[in-house]
Amino acid sequence: MDNELTALGIIFTEFYYWVTVVFMFLIHVGFCVYEVGASRYKNHTHTLMKNTMVIPLVTVTFFFFGWWIYFAFVNGPWIIGPLVDAPFATPWSELMGAHMGGAPVQDTLTGDDTAFWARINGVFWAAFLLFSWTAASIVSGAVIERIRPSAFWILAVVIGSFTWIIDAAWGWSWNGWMVQKLGYHDAYASGVIHAIAGGFALGVLLVLGPRIGKFAADGTPRNINPHNPWLVTVGLFLIYTGFWGFYVACNIPIIDIYGSAMLDVADKTYFSATNIYLQPTTLSAITFNFLMSLSGGLMVAYIVSDGDAFWTYSGGLAGVIGASSGNDLYHPIQAMLIGGGGAFLAYKMHYWVENRFKIDDAVGAVAVHGYAGFYGIVMAGFMLWGYPSSPFEGYAAISPWGNFIGALIMFFVLGFFPALIVSKILHGLGMLRIPREIELVGLDINHEMQRQIDADEVARAIRQEAG
């Protein structure tokens, strides 16, 4: 860092990812607010703590093994090659701590490793980590008011630090096997975050069952309305805001595309932002498309839900999610129309699945993230058919079948089935669902009783003072 321009590029990149992390924090704030608004008063404290504790548990496990998985599992492993060495991402690596980029102490690292990773590792790790929180948080909303917090936290670690980061290694890195062999394209994570989280939530819900009172004896669903619909919409607004950070975190802010060590085209220099696949893009492009797909989702959701606030806001989210796979390349009007389709599908599918299969998804998470995400990947396969999936030679081109197989892998292979298996194990151990008596009176019964005792004591004291 003895050259001002080089230093500026490196420190700008470091600062860029740091800012995305701060923005993405709002997604988690939004999810917490939203869930508390959606749950009934008697469950508020436990609902809030269930999602709050995702933060530390996924953070530490993502430090211990999640980050390493991202680099080590790009080949499967053993789908197209072995485990990949990633000595800068192990929890005992000197690069997983404060480092100035000088010569390494550990002999598993080289000088190039330390020079490259010293300033980027922490912020890049954190940007991915915030995606991990989001994946777990999506599941959290669907299962409120009847899952044991302990069971949810185990499931949160499974998706947040294990299955989603495997999918990122496979389909959301410049050299993942799905990109190489399927031409999988999912630039802003319709599949790698949303479809997997929706599929995971569905797997848990299938074993967990509905909340008591959700369905009548004849199977007719009842509406368990949010305790506070305004809090729900404020939460969704916060998620929209955090989504800006999510989008820009999916990019590499500045890189010499031809000169990067990985591509290395002689005698050419071109600096640009790229997506995670190292394909050039611009912040302008994704800003157009983020807003247009959000708008398409909001407009369609408003119409199909008859202006229902919860579904209109959720539809905005489904709009963005439905277009995210290709939002690096779409025309803004394409993004708007595709976003509208995502919102329509999410709304219709939610009620169809609820009626047909008696699935109680308390906040529509499976629909908004799972179905809209799945649709988003498939749409990108058609819309971007024939585009190169990577600047590297020998990679498959983007295709409908490549992205469709990718969508199945995201939703079912890494989402639905792992959740189903872990939930079955937890259920078998009697650890998945809260006891029936507690569900009936509310998870916060203990806190509520103590609050009443405290309030009565204070009231008596005040009465005494009054004489």
Partner: protein, 82 residues
Amino acid sequence: MSTGLVDNWLNTDTFGPIYPFVGTEVMLAIVGIAFWIIWHIWQIKKENAEFKKDIENINKMGGPGKVLDQEARREMEDSVGG
């Protein structure tokens, strides 16, 4: 003399890791992972105890139906200032 590899800030351009006790990373990882696993075990035990106590309290009050009746009555009293 310091707990890390830093004993002045004049050679920053050559510095690698600057946290204290460089060389203990594997041990720190083991301790960290143990802390995480123990936390889950401890939390599950606490949760089981909490639920057991909740059920005892509910039964003492006559079962979930009675608890809900009492809550409803209290809410009504609160709203009318009874």
